[in-house]
Subunit: 372 residues, 2 copies
């Protein structure tokens, strides 16, 4: 005899975790079923490593390309099509807002952000008027809207964290030592905090506008925060990054917090209000897990240079990341920093395929991973 | 009634710890009495921050200056006279041995080591003949001998660790990503290990010759090892650095092992055979202490940029380092990396004075430090 239909079971909606795309599920640390997969995307997945990018990118500054919504949307979509990654990240740059309000920032090929007149004194605060995203970066929002229509995976919006943007504005170009930045921080804390407040407001305005136009998650890039000793991070940086995270909490999208060389800061970066903390390759994922609260998801953390190695080396390193995560549901596979321009896209294709095949988010570990 | 003299006490030689200079005592982790002081020296204490250095240094390459023993000895002595530091470090450069055997390395002002024809294939091994210190770097040994006669504090000799020297030889210039270095490491492990073996032998020959001519301690600079994930460090680097430390163990001088951004590697760097592990400013000293075996001394770890801050900021940061060390006898105060060229020497004078006044190595903490 066949059991009669049970409406309470048959008509029940799928649990929320099944409805959520893998990327958003992992950001929330929600355990997926055995069929569910470890999501993967790559920082700088859109860009110079892709031939289709080099074909359409044109010769101008990256800021010029970002100002053309159809072009930026296409560049954002390219790696999603090619790799089958679980998230797209908006093709843009963390200095876009500062450039858009006329601070005089450009991105020099092969160098990075360069500033014509670096931030040096209180008078320079007047050069940092509030960002009006609808007016100043309307093209970014148009790109976001196009992508929200066309993408089949979540779109990650982003902004530079106040410290990292400040470091560019103060140093005038990429730095190894952040001498001027730290000198201002310690030498004139009042001016420092005033600058950080403006940059926090800028990040908030930018992130809110991206979310309201369709971004399903955001990443706050504090790429160079790892240059700081933990007490300095805690005192001079954390309050401002916390302000950014708090000011977008009502929009209820996952918030990722990323920096390089931040092994000693992972707990503080979670405490700033992140749902997900990005980890570079220097800290094994099992060690990183001990430095953040239990509810925090982790993103990472393959050394990008390992994508230039022979495949068996890359493969073993991918499995090592999966093994150290030990099937924890709060894991988004990524590199520990951006894709190197020299990377062969076919390697990233294989990485995605491997993570999807062998990654587990139900507390188990695939036999191939366990044996690695 | 006065007690009769007690020859067993009065004639006893002072305990070894009192006879040892403070720097050597701390390297050995031997507790000093309450009068004993926390030793302090600064990486790159001899150099551009000193007006007396700029006065005598001349215009040529640093390698030319190093080749003149009287000049190098004088440059080494300058900071000892001015600051009253507890150790001198030989004025030299980690690429001196490679340059001396004709690999074609120079040190470009404002850039660092540059290599005319970078190391790229097995054929380049032939360009790395064994170092004969008595012949190839006789001028270094003459400098060491002059210093051994003139110094009143221990002289620290040094060498570049195989990995860091390899990174210069392979990249051809300072790098942020070490792409070629890691590509060779993973892509051709046989060649990698052959290169590392030669560079280990080079470091051994150089260090032994410095010790035999009068260096009282040595530091192995693996400045850029922090670019590596711990498993890569353990597999590709540690065995070669261990070989270096083992090959000088019979000479029984303290061995310091230093790198930047090595928070996750501190335990491995101790395991390589170091008596002292250098710590940059990213890892608080109390945290660093938990990552090395109990018998290991620590060196560090003030952020060098803090020496450019107002004195009350520098002072508080120095006290924070002392407080986190909590009076442990195995502590040599230093910066977390080299002195910045912009540093005002009078600040370093005050740091030395402060460390000597308030530093404790008997397990106690000075009231000013405790209150900070």
């Amino acid at each position: 005899m066949v059991n009669p239909p049970n409406p309470a079971i048959d008509a029940a909606p799928a649990p929320a975790s099944d409805a959520l795309p893998a990327f958003l599920r992992a950001c929330r640390g929600i355990a997926g079923g055995p069929e569910d997969r470890v999501p993967v995307w790559f920082m700088r997945q859109a860009g110079r490593s892709l031939p289709e990018y080099r074909e359409i990118r044109g010769a101008g500054s990256i800021l010029e390309a970002i100002a053309v919504p159809e072009l930026s949307a296409e560049i954002t979509l390219q790696p999603v099509r090619r790799y089958g990654v679980d998230a797209a990240i908006l093709y843009s740059d963390i200095v876009v807002p500062a450039a858009a309000i006329g601070f005089g920032v450009d991105v020099a090929p092969g160098i990075g952000p360069v500033v014509e007149r670096p931030f040096a004194s209180a008078a320079d605060l007047a050069r940092l008027r509030p960002l009006e995203p609808d007016v100043d970066t309307a093209y970014v929002l148009e790109t976001v809207r196009i992508l929200a229509r066309e993408l089949t995976v979540p779109l990650i919006g982003f902004a530079g964290a106040p410290f990292t943007v400040a470091s560019y504005l103060i140093e005038g170009r990429p730095s190894r030592t952040y001498t001027r930045t730290k000198a201002l921080m310690h030498g004139d804390p009042t001016l420092w905090h005033a600058l950080m407040e403006r940059l926090a407001e800028m990040a908030i305005a930018s992130l809110r506008s991206q979310i309201l136009n369709g971004a399903a998650a955001i990443q706050l890039f504090d790429s160079w925060a790892g240059a700081l000793a933990p007490p300095d991070y805690e005192h001079f940086v954390l309050p401002h990054s916390r302000r950014v995270f708090e000011a977008i909490a009502d929009l209820d999208v996952p918030r990722i917090h990323f920096g390089v060389g931040t092994g000693e800061l992972l707990g503080l970066m979670a405490a700033a209000g992140a749902d997900v903390v990005g980890v570079d390759w220097r800290v094994p994922l099992d060690v990183a897990r001990t430095r953040v609260p239990a509810g925090t998801a982790l993103q990472g953390n393959l050394d990008p240079v390992l994508c230039l190695a022979p495949w068996e080396v890359t493969e073993a390193a991918v499995r090592d990341v999966l093994r150290r995560n030990a099937g924890h549901p709060g894991h988004i596979f990524n590199l520990g920093h951006g894709v190197m321009p020299e990377t062969d896209p076919s390697v990233l294709e294989r990485v995605v395929e491997l993570v999807h095949r062998e990654g587990r988010c139900d507390g188990s570990v695939a036999p191939e991973v366990a044996a690695s």
